[in-house]
Symmetry: C2
DNA sequence: CAGTATCCGATGCGATACTG
DNA sequence: CAGTATCGCATCGGATACTG
């Protein structure tokens, strides 16, 4: 990529100069999903170095796609999409739908990452089917390394942040245990298999009260693209 | 870009691995516009080396976005979009619309290129307002170098290819002369100014029969994004 | 016409460490 | 928490020439 531009006046080419730069679409995706602070964004693009993220944020601001503002209360910087950036929502979503429909799910299932998965689940979890009191759910991935093995989702409808994610034991009594492997959990999240499938095969085990286990597919929000039906590739 | 992937299972990330690779969106744009042969594609991405184009076509084929087939009659290879590729049309068009709405037109007008412009005009010219007989239109860009100065568009409704583009004098009598500068002509094509504007300012001069000059904005198709209204950037 | 082959330079970007 | 600073390599891709 010895120089960035395409030397074309075509608006598609102009847009591609911005949107085609590595990482940019994913940064915009994070902002569209509601992240706004630097270290929040980092969680969504963990393989990106902070230096590069900072650089890209600057570029996106110069292009008028995001603005950097100081948060009144916390005093820390905040990024949000401008109107121009917000108008990218349909494009980014369409790309996701297209990816889900046409790219091999096998490929996705090679890019497993528990942090990203749990972070996504935190974001999309739906508290409403859950009881009114605080609920603690522990996820266990036995095959993973020490630091990645255990995760806690704490749901409290009445808290300021209804869903919280921890990697260290919050100390609460656990209401529901979910034991599975990362590939299974990711496949469920992506809509490739269901909770029922995995339970039947024995790759997912739930232990806790019936009131929590039976409605798992209700409170566990899936990926926004989960319901997109997979298409079969055209064979030559 | 030390490695290509993002390491994320998210469908947006998967799609971005394919669509974000340099040039790919522009190649797809060309295919969507109807190009199908290698050297036809090259005209749409002149700054791309043939080696790289070839490589990218191979990748796109492996991803199931295009297929390479042999043309029965000519015996030469042909590329066309698969169903998966065709489903990218809305995304690519949306990117163009977004680019036209939000990116500085000044930027576009720094990426002038007469070959791309004339090639685009050839593609979008609308023969129907023109007379039934063959019409030859000569474009003259006095400021350009010898090889880029003169262009001929030959329109013949009854020919197999209704619109032809030449860089060398086809020898026909010219019906309409268009003299202008490249920036003006590009701005007209992009919908930034109109033929009438440019004529009034004297940056575009037409000489030929009234029947051809008055309906120029009718036969000269504009960019597919020309009617998108420009938006003003959010000021901080 | 439709590509390959080869070469080499620029730079994007990843890794790590550090600071206010 | 929110970034900067620095370094060095891998690789992307541009240029040119060549081939069936």
């Amino acid at each position: 990529m010895t120089e960035r531009g395409y030397g074309q006046f075509c608006p598609v080419a102009m847009a591609t100069e911005v949107l085609g730069a590595r990482w940019n679409i994913l940064i915009i995706r994070e902002l569209l999903c509601g992240s706004s602070r630097f270290n929040e964004l980092r969680k969504g693009v963990p393989r990106m170095s902070p230096a590069l993220l900072s650089k890209r944020l600057g570029e996106l601001e110069r292009f008028g796609i995001i603005v950097r503002e100081m948060d009144e209360t916390s005093g820390s910087p905040t990024y949000r999409l401008t109107e121009a950036g917000e108008e990218l929502r349909d494009i980014v979503m369409s790309m996701g739908v297209w990816g889900q429909r046409w790219l091999e799910s096998q490929l996705s299932l090679k890019n497993l990452d528990p942090s990203l998965l749990m972070w996504d689940m935190r974001r999309n979890l739906n508290p409403s089917p859950l009881p009114d009191h605080r609920v603690t759910i522990q996820f266990l991935y036995p095959e993973l390394s020490r630091g990645q093995k255990k995760w806690w989702l704490i749901v409290d409808k009445h808290a300021s942040e209804p869903v919280d994610l921890c990697k260290i034991d919050p100390g609460h009594e656990v209401d529901l245990y979910v034991a599975t492997d990362l590939k299974t959990m990711t496949a469920i999240w992506m809509g490739i298999i269901t909770v029922a499938d995995a339970t039947r095969r024995g790759t997912l085990r739930l232990s806790g009260p019936h009131s929590l286990t039976t409605c798992m597919s209700a409170w566990m929000g899936l990926s926004p693209f989960a319901q997109e039906t997979k298409q079969v590739r055209e064979s030559v």
